[in-house]
């Protein structure tokens, strides 16, 4: 069976590198891109199972990117990273079919366990 292919979108290169390593370590195939435009291109051209989007990005942000993707792809599973939980944003994004919101940074707990759970949920779907 082919590995589940994950598209990781974040404008922070450092974050992108580290997360890519971790997710690959979990056994997924990861394509990492640094902006929404590139992400849309990837989803268009290659078979992608799960998209992990950063909520806040310069230029095209996470929600706009997702809206664009939804125009031609309604089934792809989406997980969103956010630096700071904003209730309004959560409600808005949920309507676009975001499976989970992962706080990029939470004191004490770590993002990775939540991300792992979310990925497992996305795979089942």
């Amino acid at each position: 069976m082919a590995k589940t292919r994950i598209l990781l979108v974040d404008d922070e290169k450092g974050f992108l590198d580290i997360m890519k390593q971790r997710i690959e370590f979990w056994g997924y195939e990861v394509i990492a891109v640094s902006n929404g435009k590139k992400a849309i291109n990837v989803v268009r051209k290659r078979k992608t199972d799960i998209v992990i989007l950063d909520y806040m990005m310069p230029g095209m942000d996470g929600v706009s990117t997702l809206k664009e993707i939804r125009k031609f792809n309604s089934h792809i599973s989406v997980i969103m990273f956010t630096a700071y939980i904003d209730e309004r944003a959560v409600i808005g994004a949920e309507k676009l079919g975001v499976i989970a919101f992962i706080p990029k940074f939470n004191a004490g707990s770590s993002a990775e366990s939540k991300l792992k759970t979310a990925l497992q949920m996305a795979e089942k779907k």
Binding site: I18, R22, F25, A83, Y84, K95, K104, A107, E112
Partner: protein, 805 residues
């Protein structure tokens, strides 16, 4: 020249006397009988009359009587020839000066005339002296009176600084001498006319208006200034003299009056008036006296004004030069004070004339009128911010309070205006800065933390124990930094007013349980035991679950932090009548007394134990206090060193009705501000009574909570919502929703709720709902109207549904 009249019927005697007397230097007139003599007497008015007693026709005695009748001071000397002593005695009794006998001894006559003249002179002198004495006495009386008035007036100035008192004294003093029925005075300045009236008798009150009018007219005429336009203040002093006995007066018409102006410097500042219902009631003397009094009053008033002006100018120059705007209006809304800074703040030009009307218009446009009205109705200090629109909007903080005089009477309202535009801007910039910086800090922190985690998870390769330890310490400190940033963000959001409560019915006991169990691992490490006393009968509270959890977490976390091994933490929930009192009590190190009032300040760190111990951010309690404040609760602390600390806070109980009204209120304000519509929607369970019977309140709560969740998922923007369990309703306040939008939402809600499987006691239950809608401002303008309208629409639809089957 002394005039002598001789009346004698004997011609020889007449001629002799005339010659003799003329020679002696008297102007002499002669008459041959009584009638003729009296004629001459009336014409010439002689000083001495010589009259023969025995004359045909009118005799000497009769002439004497007539003369004395006409002018008593004339001395009459009778001449007797043949008459006996009886007639002489009669003449003397009738006030003849003396008598001489015929034949006349001329020397004796001359002496007698001289004596008579001397007597006359003495009499005149005597009378003059008497008159002089009387005059002096009167003068003295008046002087004493004037001094009395002056004395009273100066007392009034020294003790009262009160025109009314001064005028009252003058009027009462005047009454001692002048017989008036009403005394009135009028004083005026640039703004107002002050009239004081004192009717003497209870009956004379009827004149008051007439006198007032006459005074105003007189003063207007005298000064050429139309004082009718000014504000009129009239004071009626009580007529405490009662009714004058005996004298009957026609109390229906003023028959005489007299006005005397008050002149200060060379300017007429008013007038005093005395009026009477008697004709010619005032003598020349009275008028003179009134003039004197008016002059004295004028100088008293002048001095009074000087004193007041001196006092006022001190205050005025202070107010004028204040950096805050000061605005004072009297009870009628007229300007009392409007200092230059207030003029500038309210946008008046330097030379623009600001009348009370202009100012009131201005206040309306910036809502300052509402602030003053609120202060007048609430009768205490009101602190409000208003915005003066312009190129750059100016924000003014208005501290407004009532002005109360020494007699505890409200005489106006004062507002002190402070320009806080810059402070607000700085505040906003600070908040923006904090939030930007925090966001910016977060990203590198996240990357660092994830990097460390990656290594700790040995994904890039194996690490040894030492490396693991160091990296773990590094990661813990990144977490600490993150906590500080989170707190900073929280507090700046609260301070910026960006945090609103998402109230929902919350079981406080359950919330406490959950919080404690999440913190238990930390407490276990220090062997700290928990003791919780619940309040089992307490019904659920409308609070923001996350925020109250944060409050308990902060307090319990602190308690754990500052409690030494094997300590105890008690959490108590007490149901007080109108609020719930929660406390967290520890057996920790306590807080020193001098720090107690600072613990809730920002960046104040609780007393550290020397050596080890977790380091806080100094923001936890500040946030806690603010979160409780958002709920309109209070928080306080009691502590004893080495014994422990007890933090107690309250959460007011809010009924669904109040909450709904609060939501509606906020919604209406937002709608007005943004010029958008707002809708009220009631979602009501159909067959509520049967359902309640079947599933009990607990079941209803479950159903309504789930409806709430369904609704939350469908509505895009956050919505204010309450559940009324006793009615089986969920009520929503939807912003930016026109009727069309609300109906569309209703469709979605209905579909979702109908499709939903409600699980009660393990059984799947279906629930039907009905809707009532009202839209602001199109369909209703007030809260009550909105609620009523929505209920009516709900009932109508229920009827329709029932009719349809």
């Amino acid at each position: 020249m002394t005039k002598v009249l001789v009346i004698d019927d004997e011609e020889i005697s007449r001629r002799m006397l005339k010659r003799l007397l003329t020679m002696a230097g008297y102007e002499t007139f002669v008459a041959d009988g009584g009638e003729a003599g009296l004629k001459i007497f009336k014409k010439e008015n002689p000083d001495i009359v010589l009259v023969d007693i025995e004359m045909p026709g009118m005799d000497g005695i009769e002439v004497l009587g007539e003369v004395k009748k006409i002018f008593a001071q004339t001395e009459v000397i009778v001449i007797t020839g043949h008459g006996g002593m009886e007639t002489v005695i009669e003449a003397l009794r009738k006030d003849a000066f003396d008598y001489i006998t015929k034949p006349i001894n001329y020397d004796e006559l001359k002496i007698t005339i001289k004596r008579a003249l001397e007597k006359q002179r003495l009499l005149i002198e005597n009378r003059r002296m008497h008159e002089e004495t009387v005059k002096q006495r009167d003068e003295l009386k008046k002087r004493i009176f004037e001094i009395d008035v002056l004395y009273n007036a100066s007392n009034a100035i020294s003790y009262t600084l009160d025109y009314q008192q001064l005028l009252k004294l003058i009027m009462e003093s005047l009454f001692k001498i002048v017989d008036y029925d009403i005394c009135a005075s009028l004083l005026f300045d640039a703004h107002a006319v002050n009239i004081t009236l004192k009717p003497v008798y209870a009956q004379s009150v009827g004149f008051v208006d007439k006198v007032k009018k006459s005074l105003i007219e007189s003063v207007s005429m005298l000064t050429g200034e139309n004082i009718r336009e000014k504000r009129m203040d009239a004071y009626l002093l009580p007529s405490d003299f009662g009714v004058k006995p005996k004298e009957e007066r026609q109390f229906d018409e003023l028959k005489s009056f007299f006005n005397v102006p008050f002149i200060v410097g060379s300017k007429t500042i008013g007038m005093i008036n005395v009026s009477s219902c008697k004709e010619n009631a005032f003598s020349e003397g009275d008028i003179k006296l009134i003039y004197t009094i008016a002059n004295q009053a004028s100088s008293s008033i002048e001095r009074l004004q000087e004193v007041i002006t001196a006092e006022k100018s001190k205050m005025e120059s202070m107010v004028e030069s204040m950096s805050e705007g000061v605005l004072m209006l009297d009870e009628r809304g007229d300007i009392v004070v409007l200092n230059p800074k207030a003029r500038e703040m309210l946008g008046f030009g330097g030379k623009e004339e600001v009348t009370s009307r202009v100012l009131n218009e201005k206040m309306k446009t910036v809502n300052l009128d509402k602030v003053l009205q609120e202060c007048q109705s609430k009768k205490h200090l009101i602190v409000k911010e208003i915005i003066i629109p312009g190129k750059i909007n100016i924000i003014l903080r208005c501290n407004t309070s009532l002005v109360i005089n020494a007699k505890k009477k409200t005489i106006g309202v004062v507002s002190v205006l402070r320009d806080i535009t810059k402070e607000k801007e700085v505040d906003r910039m600070k908040n923006e800065f904090v939030s930007t910086v925090s966001h910016e800090l977060r990203t590198p922190l996240a990357i660092t933390k994830e990097g460390i985690n990656l290594i700790l998870d040995e994904i890039p390769g194996k690490i040894n124990k030492k490396q693991d330890n160091i990296l773990t310490t590094a990661r813990d400190n990144i977490d600490r930094l993150a906590r500080i940033i989170n707190n900073l963000l929280d507090i700046s959001k609260i301070e910026a007013g960006e945090v609103t409560l998402n109230r929902n019915l919350v079981d406080i006991d359950a919330l406490v349980d959950k919080t404690i169990s999440s913190l238990k691992p930390q407490a276990d490490k220090k062997n700290i035991k928990f003791k919780v006393s619940y309040s089992p009968d307490l019904s659920d509270l409308y609070v923001d679950q996350d925020k109250v959890t944060q409050v308990f977490t902060n307090l319990i976390n602190n308690a754990i932090k500052f409690t030494i091994e094997k300590g105890r933490i008690s959490v108590t929930i007490k149901d007080k009548d109108k609020e719930v009192e929660c406390s967290v009590n520890d057996t920790g190190i306590g807080i020193p007394g001098d720090e107690l009032d600072k613990v809730f300040d920002k960046f104040h760190q609780l007393g550290r134990v020397s050596g080890a111990g977790e380091k806080g951010t100094g923001l936890g309690l500040a946030i806690t206090k603010k979160l409780i404040g958002l709920h309109n609760g209070r928080i306080w602390v009691e502590s004893e060193l080495d014994k422990g600390s007890k933090f107690t806070f309250t959460l007011p109980k809010i009924g669904t009705e109040i909450l709904l009204r609060e939501y509606l209120n906020n919604g209406m304000i937002q709608a007005k501000k943004q010029k958008i519509t707002m809708s009220l929607m009631i979602i009501s369970l159909t067959n509520f009574e049967q359902m309640k019977e079947k599933y009990k309140t607990k079941g209803i709560i479950k159903i309504l909570s789930q409806i709430r969740e369904i609704v939350t998922k469908i509505v895009f923007s956050p919505t204010n919502m309450v559940n009324t369990y006793h009615k089986g309703e969920t009520v929503l306040v939807l912003l930016k929703a026109r009727r069309r939008d609300t109906l569309a939402l209703e469709k979605k809600f209905k579909k979702a709720i109908n499709a939903h499987q409600f699980i009660i006691k393990g059984k799947s239950v279906k629930a039907g709902v009905n809707f009532g809608i009202a839209v602001y401002p199109e369909e209703a303008q007030t809260k009550d109207e909105l609620i009523k309208k929505a209920k009516v629409s709900l009932e109508e639809r229920e009827k329709m549904r029932n009719n349809n089957g």
